[in-house]
Amino acid sequence: MAYPAKYRYTKEHEWIDASDNNLATIGITDYAQHALGDVVFVELPKSGAEIKTGKSFGSIESVKAVSDIYAPASGEVVEANAELQNKPETINTDPQGAAWLIKVKLSNPAEISGLMDAKAYEAFIAEKEKEASA
C-alpha cells in the first residue's frame, strides 16, 4: 500500500492529513496495521476532547495485543470515526482511508512541519524491516 504524499507521518506509525485547513484527519499507517494483525477493538476519544502531541489519545487492540495511539499534533477532537466501533477490522483493510480515527482542530498547525513526509517515512520503515530481518 502506498503512503499518500499529502500525509505526514510519525515514528509511532500514525499519519496526519492537515491539507484541509485546520481540520486535520489522523489514522494509523498500513505498516502499523500489518504489525498489529487482526484488529478487534478500537477506543477513541469523544468529540471535544483535547489531544496533546506525543501523548496517547486512544488504543487499538488486535487479538494478541493492545497498542496506544499517539497524537501527531495537539488540538481538539471534532469527530471520532464511529464506524470503527462495529467494524474495527476496517483498520486492516483501509487504514489510510475509510479507517481514519479522528478529525482534529489543530491548536498549532505549524507542528506538522516537524513530521516525516511519505518519502522519509518509507525510508524509516525500510530501515525497520532491515533490522527485523537481521
Binding site: E14, A35, G37, D38, F41, V63, K64, A65, V66
Partner: protein, 404 residues
C-alpha cells in the same frame, strides 16, 4: 504505536535469562522468514507469531478448529531419564520429580504432570512419556529449559538414573485439528487410528524411521506431535510434506498467536501466567494431575499442609459482559469496591466470538455467574464468571446402536 506483542510472555523467567541477548532459532527459522511470518521473541526464542500468508491469527485459529494447522514447536525442550543400573531407577526419579503418578503409565503412554518446588509451586508443567519400562521423556517449556534441566540434574544426582538433554536433537512439529489424523496418515506407515489420546508410537514419517508420533497437543483439538531429526534439510522437508499432504484439508502454518488463543479457549495453563513459581497446585486447580497417594515427591509436604488451609485465590474463567478485552495482569474488582484478583491471560475468543479471560480471584468470588469488574485502562468493565474450558471439542460420536 507499535504493539508490544507478547511482552509479558514468561515474565517470571525473562529476568533470570536476560543475559541471553541473542534470540535462539529453531531449524525452521529460515523457512518461517521465507514464508513472511511475523517473528517475536518468545522466552528467548525467535518464533513466528502469525503468518500473513495463512491469513493471520484468526484464520490460523479457525483452520485448527475446522481442519488442520501446522506449528513449529521445536523451542520446547526434551529431557530423557533412563535407569542407570537397577530396574526401576528411572521411574523412581520421575516419581520424585513430578506430581502425577508415572507408575500408572504403560509403555507408549503419556500424561500431563508438573515439576514442583518444595513449596508446592511450579518449576514447570511437563508431558511425561514412558518410552520403555526404564526410559522416560519429559517435554518441557522453551522459556524454562535451562532452569528445568538444572533442576532435574540437581534433584536426581543421588538417584539411579541417567539424565540427557535432548532439546536440540529434534525438530518438534504439532499437526493439530480434526483433520490432522488424515493429513499425517498420508505420511507415515504407523496406523494412527490405533493411537489413543495421550498415547504415542514410533514409525516412519516422511522417510525418517523410528519417529516418535504422539497424539498430544496444546490446542484443545485432536492432533499429533512428531519428533524428527533437527537438521534444516530434514525439518524443511517434513514441514513441506505436511503442508502438501494437508492442502486438501485447508492446512496452514500457524504461529504462537493462534497457539495462545487455542490453548486459552481450552483452558490449558501457560507457564508464567496460570502457573508459576508463586502459584501452587491447588490454586491452579490442577488437583487431578497431582497424586498425593503415590508416595513422596518434591512439593508434596507443602501441598499436604496447604490442603488443610482454605484457599486464598482460585483460577476462574471470565467472559466480558461489557465492551473491552481483559489482558494479562489487569486487576479485578468486586462490585462492592474491593480488589479481588488479577487476570492471567485474556483475549478475544475466535471460536466463541466473545472476550474471555482466566483470572485468579478470591474463592468467594468464584461462583459461576458472579459479576467481576476488570480494570481496563482505568475503566472498570463488567465480566462474569463462567464455566471452563471455554471450548470443548465434540468427541467423535460412538457407533449408534441399531434401532430394532
Amino acid at each position: 504505536m507499535l504493539p508490544s506483542i507478547f511482552a509479558n510472555q514468561n515474565r517470571t523467567e525473562t529476568s533470570k535469562y536476560s543475559f541471553m541477548s541473542e534470540a535462539r532459532k529453531t531449524p525452521l527459522n529460515a523457512l518461517h522468514r521465507r514464508l513472511g511470518a511475523k517473528m517475536v521473541n518468545f522466552g528467548g526464542w525467535d518464533m513466528p507469531v502469525e503468518y500473513p500468508s495463512s491469513g493471520g491469527l484468526l484464520a490460523e485459529h479457525r483452520a485448527v478448529r475446522n481442519g488442520a494447522g501446522l506449528f513449529d514447536v521445536s523451542h520446547m525442550g526434551d529431557i530423557r531419564i533412563k535407569t542407570a543400573r537397577t530396574k526401576g531407577g528411572a521411574l523412581a526419579a520421575v516419581q520424585h520429580l513430578t506430581m502425577n503418578d508415572a507408575s500408572k503409565l504403560a509403555v507408549g503412554q503419556a500424561h500431563y504432570s508438573a515439576m514442583l518446588y518444595p513449596e508446592g509451586t511450579f518449576v514447570d508443567d511437563v508431558i511425561v512419556h514412558r518410552l520403555g519400562e526404564d526410559d522416560f521423556l519429559l517435554v518441557i517449556n522453551a522459556g524454562t529449559r535451562e532452569k528445568d534441566i538444572g533442576w532435574v540434574r540437581k534433584n536426581t544426582a543421588h538417584l539411579d538414573c541417567v539424565v540427557e538433554d535432548l532439546s536440540d536433537a529434534w525438530t518438534q512439529l504439532a499437526i493439530q485439528g480434526p483433520r490432522a489424523i488424515e493429513v499425517l496418515q498420508k505420511l507415515t506407515t504407523a496406523d494412527l487410528s490405533q493411537i489413543k489420546g495421550y498415547w504415542f508410537t514410533h514409525g516412519t514419517v516422511c522417510g525418517f524411521a523410528n519417529t516418535l508420533i504422539a497424539r498430544t497437543g496444546y490446542t484443545g483439538e485432536d492432533g499429533f506431535e512428531i519428533y524428527i531429526p533437527s537438521d534444516v534439510a530434514a525439518s524443511e522437508k517434513t514441514w513441506n510434506s505436511v503442508i502438501d499432504a494437508g492442502s486438501e484439508y485447508g492446512i496452514v502454518p500457524c504461529g504462537l498467536g493462534a497457539r495462545n488463543t487455542l490453548r486459552l479457549e481450552a483452558k490449558m495453563a501457560l507457564y508464567g501466567h496460570e502457573i508459576s513459581d508463586s502459584i501452587n497446585v491447588w490454586e491452579a486447580g490442577l488437583d487431578r494431575y497431582c497424586k498425593m497417594d503415590k508416595g513422596d515427591f518434591i512439593g508434596r509436604a507443602s501441598l499436604e499442609e496447604a490442603k488443610r488451609k482454605p484457599l486464598t485465590r482460585t483460577l476462574v474463567g471470565l467472559e466480558m459482559v461489557e465492551r473491552g478485552i481483559a489482558r494479562d495482569e489487569y486487576r479485578c474488582w468486586g462490585e462492592a469496591g474491593a480488589e479481588i484478583g488479577v487476570v492471567t491471560s485474556g483475549s478475544p475468543s475466535p471460536t466463541l466470538g466473545k472476550n474471555i479471560a482466566l483470572a485468579y480471584v478470591k474463592p468467594e468470588m468464584s461462583e459461576l455467574g458472579t459479576t467481576i469488574l476488570v480494570e481496563i485502562r482505568s475503566q472498570k468493565c463488567r465480566a462474569k464468571v463462567v464455566a471452563t474450558p471455554f471450548y470443548k471439542r465434540a468427541r467423535k460420536a460412538a457407533a449408534q446402536p441399531v434401532a430394532n
